[in-house]
């Protein structure tokens, strides 16, 4: 059979050929190249020969340490106050040229907290920006996945009715999906503009001028939220269509049977619609999660990771490293880390939603 498959199927191979070559060249090859490069010190353009450096790239990215700092005390054991607050030894003194702590060399403070008492616990990371990127990406995924899936389901339920002109609504909700994300991001940059943006104007008018104008993308506390809102809006129509396809596979007789039994709208949803959408829900959850982890274009167009790294993401960092800083091995290592994260989450989701018999 194998010989028949490979030999007497020449036309088939010829037709599949271009696609196979492109996929091999742009998906499969880069995938293995990235894994290989992440263990070297390869740069994009460099006169030096490539060296194998083991896990060094990963250590550089992921190295985290905690440090407990005791406040500075005087000879009598009393706290030395500085501007009314306890004074702590500087972290720099530990991380720069300190022969006692070679393990902390080059690390920076990521965040710190105190667990009661005077001591302060400091978490140090070798690459604070990358840590921020990981946290931001997870925040993005954790907000976008449920909110976007929920909104899309709501819209699908709304448009899954026989009403005059319902197709107009379907088209409207789907429209942002068709527009390129770059175009959408450019438009939303105008909407979010700090002075005369549409959003500020709208809020100002609605609140009779009592709400001050906010520079949505220029403020570290609102930038990520603004990008989350816009991203949800952009792709919600796509998932709405998937939900809609799921809704239409549910047999109308089941709804009739429920009507005869006297089920309320909520009970119909709870006992018939939602269980009938189980497989659709799994699909949507996995698709949204994967898309959300790939967050890049919006960041690149709207904020470039700023302000103050508040919108750094994993993919943005990978590209920033690999091409911006020409550190292709560092970028590759980030890609591999992202791959492991997404793979793990997909496996967990599959395990959680497995068919129980």
């Amino acid at each position: 059979m194998a010989s028949k498959f490979t030999q007497s199927n020449r036309t088939g191979w010829l037709m599949a050929g271009p696609a196979i070559l492109l996929i091999a060249g742009f998906v499969i090859l880069p995938f293995f190249l990235a894994i290989g490069l992440s263990f070297t010190n390869q740069r994009l353009v460099s006169p030096n020969p490539t060296e194998f450096i083991g896990l060094s790239n990963y250590r550089q990215l992921l190295d985290v340490a905690t440090l407990t700092l005791e406040p500075v005390r005087d000879a009598a054991g009393e706290l030395v106050l500085k501007d009314g607050a306890p004074d702590y030894p500087s972290i720099r003194s530990l991380t720069r040229n300190n022969p006692d702590r070679p393990d902390l060399a080059g690390m920076r403070e990521w965040f710190s907290f105190s667990t009661g008492g005077a001591a302060r616990t400091v978490v140090l990371a070798r690459d604070v920006v990358f840590m921020t990127a990981i946290v931001n990406t997870f925040v993005f995924v954790l907000v976008v996945a449920p909110v976007q899936a929920g909104l899309a389901l709501g819209l699908a339920l709304l448009i899954n009715q026989r009403l005059r002109g319902i197709n107009i609504f379907r088209a409207l909700y789907f429209m942002p999906v068709v527009v390129s994300i770059v175009v959408v991001s450019l438009l939303w940059r105008l909407i979010y503009d700090g002075q005369s943006g549409l959003l500020n104007n709208l809020l100002g008018t609605l609140s009779f001028g009592t709400l001050p104008a906010v520079d949505w993308l220029g403020n570290p506390s609102t930038a990520l939220g603004a990008i989350i809102a816009m991203s949800i809006w952009q792709a919600v129509g796509f998932h709405m269509v998937i939900w809609l396809a799921g809704l239409q596979t549910i047999s109308p007789t089941l709804y009739e049977a429920a009507a005869i039994e006297g089920a309320s709208k909520w009970q119909v949803f709870r006992y018939i619609t939602w269980p009938g959408l189980r497989n659709t829900a799994i699909l949507i959850l996995i698709v949204i999660t994967m898309q959300a982890f790939g967050l890049f274009a919006q960041i690149d167009v709207m904020t470039n990771g700023g302000p103050l790294d508040s919108t750094q993401t994993i993919v943005f960092q990978a590209i920033e490293r690999g091409y911006g800083k020409q550190d292709i091995s560092g970028g590759s290592a980030i890609s591999v880390i992202l791959f492991v994260i997404v793979l793990t989450i997909s496996l967990i989701q599959r395990w959680l939603t497995r068919e129980r018999s």
């Binding site: 047999s251 007789t253 089941l254 009739e256 049977a257 429920a258 009507a259 005869i260 039994e261 006297g262 089920a263 309320s264 009970q267 006992y271 018939i272 269980p275 009938g276 189980r278």
Partner: protein, 354 residues
């Protein structure tokens, strides 16, 4: 009590009139079967009673209460669907208890009623299975179980046996008949299968094109069909129709004949004829018997089907029309053989020519 009355019930989709004024009176505890060919509106009529289709005009009362505008749940009906409509993600137990869950019944009440329904339908061993693990007949039991736990006054069945194979259909038919006797509830049953109609019904309603053709007990309809449609629809094989001419009328009888039929005097029942009228003579295949020559009807054998206990003979008559006889024994006729039939005149039906 759950008497159901339909008065001049109509249903239209725009200009398409689907139900064209139906009057039916179904007594409490009666088993009423709506029967008719595909597209006659029988399912639509049932769905109007259930509340799944709007009623365009007319009045529908259940238990002396007008229910035209009530939602299905408030009409006190339970329905069994052709496709079973059991919920694929629930176990049999959850499916049967669905109506009680919706109504917020206690766990103990649910358990007791489900157990009772399972006992009646002999499906205790199926309660923890999922629908995908059930056969067609078992699924239909679950659907019926879901209907009976709520103890409704009225059961509606929409072609419940159509998706089952022939042997199972007969078993379930008997089950449904027993269920009706056990529960004593009013039941309306829609089918296109006249055997189900004849065996189950207290009252049959024959429908065609959204109109009632005849209402009566199975035997009334079989022995005294009001028109050609009912005569042809009930009974298998169908009644033979011969084009005849009325020779003479004498009180309640008429003398009819045609090229293949010797003159015979048959009852006119309620219809009125006069000499020279064209008419249709209806003869059930079972009432034809092989005659010693010459016999009333002569022809040549076109086809013989041997069923074992019965033999179906298709005969080409002298006037080129054909006729089927069901003979109650196993006989073999060579194709082309000359045969003659006799029949009892009082078993023949005379209808006005359409």
């Amino acid at each position: 009590m759950a008497r159901i009355q339909l008065k001049d019930l109509r249903k239209s989709y725009g200009n398409a009139h689907v139900i064209k004024g139906v009057d039916i009176d179904i007594e409490d505890g009666e088993f009423c079967v709506f029967v008719g060919p595909s597209g006659c509106g029988k399912s639509t009529l049932l769905r109007m009673i259930a509340g799944l289709e709007d009623i365009t005009s007319g009045s529908l009362t259940i238990a002396e209460r007008r229910v035209n505008d009530l939602p299905p749940a408030q009409r006190g009906v339970a329905m069994v669907f052709q496709s079973y409509a059991i919920f694929p993600h629930m176990t049999v137990r959850e499916n049967v208890a669905f109506g009680l869950t919706i109504a917020g019944a206690s766990k103990a009440e649910k358990a007791a009623k489900v157990a009772e329904a399972a006992r009646i339908l002999q499906m205790e061993h199926l309660l923890d299975r999922r629908p995908s693990q059930l056969s067609g007949g078992q699924r239909q039991r679950v659907a019926i179980g879901r209907a009976i736990v709520r103890q409704p006054k009225v059961f509606l069945f929409d072609e419940p046996l159509s998706n089952l194979d022939a042997a199972l259909r007969m078993d379930m038919r008997m089950e449904i008949g027993k269920l009706h006797k056990a529960l004593g509830a009013t039941m309306i049953y829609v089918t296109h299968d006249q055997v189900e109609a004849m065996t189950l019904a207290d009252k049959i309603v024959v429908l065609k094109d959204g109109q009632v053709m005849q209402i009566g007990t199975p035997m009334e309809l079989y022995q005294n069909p009001a028109n050609l449609f009912v005569a042809g629809f009930l009974g298998a094989p169908s009644m033979n129709f011969l084009k005849v001419t009325v020779q003479a009328v004498n009180g309640n009888t008429a003398l009819v004949s045609n090229a293949a039929l010797d003159p015979v005097e048959v009852s006119t029942r309620s219809a009125s004829f006069k000499a020279g009228d064209a008419a249709i003579l209806g003869l059930r295949p079972q009432y034809l018997s092989i005659a010693e020559a010459p016999g009333r009807l002569q022809g040549t054998v076109a086809l013989t089907e041997r069923l074992g206990a019965e033999t179906m003979v298709e005969v080409k008559l002298k006037d080129d029309s054909s006729l089927i006889a069901a003979l109650p024994q196993d006989v073999v006729f060579p194709v082309g053989a000359q045969v003659a039939f006799d029949f009892a005149a009082d078993k023949a039906h005379l209808f006005a020519a359409p």
